[in-house]
């Protein structure tokens, strides 16, 4: 029920919530596609301001959706954790349901 937990923690109206969920989905999708992605590349791909990007990434890390890895040279990359995979799967399932039932 991670989608629900994320929604409960948000402020603002329903429209803002949905937009926020879309941003989270987009960030997670990019990470999943790349398996491991550098913070700067993820920032460009997410199309967010650096401040907003930090807020989202911090939240996703706190919620155990993503993790940061550091190699021997000190290079940092983001990768998806199991909860992040589950979120994307559930998001896809809901999208499919809504579009196939015309709701």
């Amino acid at each position: 029920m991670e989608l629900l937990n994320l929604q409960v923690s948000q402020k603002g109206n329903m429209a803002k919530k949905r937009e926020r969920l879309d941003v989270i989905k987009d960030i997670l999708r990019v990470i999943r596609e790349h398996r491991a992605i550098k913070p700067t590349r993820l920032l460009y791909a997410s199309n967010l301001s650096p401040q907003m990007f930090k807020e989202y990434v911090d939240e996703l890390m706190t919620k155990d959706f993503i993790m940061i890895n550091e190699d021997k040279k000190g290079k940092k990359t983001f990768s998806l954790k199991q909860k992040g995979h589950n979120f994307l799967d559930e998001y896809k399932m809901i999208e499919n349901f809504i579009s196939n039932f015309g709701l």
């Binding site: 809901i94 499919n96 809504i98 196939n100 015309g102 709701l103």
Partner: protein
Amino acid sequence: MDFLGWITQNKEILKILFGLIITLICIFIVLRTNRLFKISKHKGIRYFRNAFFFYGIAFFIKYIIESITFILESSSISLLIISALFEFFLIMGGFFLLYSLLWKKIETKNEKYTSSLMNPKISVFYMMAIIISVLDLINLSHFYMFLSQITVFAIASLISFVNYFNHPEKKFLKLYFAAMVLSFITWILNAFSAFYFGWDQGIMINIYVINTIIFLVFLYGVVKFTSLPKR
């Protein structure tokens, strides 16, 4: 004994079986879509869930409670009350199913009702369903229910056709449209059976079969699209 004779002889048992199948399908759909709604908070899913919640109650009342009451040879007044309750819940199911297709065009983004069963917009449905059930109870017929549901499913067929036409790549929209057209035809058949053929057994058997197919189509869709995709 011929097939029709066998069915006539076991009519009450078969009605209970039919009611049980539809009620179980509805319970399954409600539980699955309720989980989906809790995750997404999507209003369309919420109204779709409500539709099957009301259908489940309607079929349970009509085919299980009524059959038991009939077998126990209760008074005709209790059968009339059951009939009115069945109408009310069935009409509400139809309204919610239509509204699940229409809500985006009616509701604004800022509307936030905590309950989808008790709010000013939905109270219009309740009022209409109560008026229709009471009118039919007074007239001892199902005329207004048939009229309302034929109208509901004519509109639902049109909307689902537009949905399918706009997104032909979504295969289930085709099945959804077929289910809506079948529902529309079934309601017309039901009306003809009641008004011109005195609830003819042959026609009613066909209606039961078509109804089961319609609910199975929805069950198929819900099972297919509420299972997590393979990674």
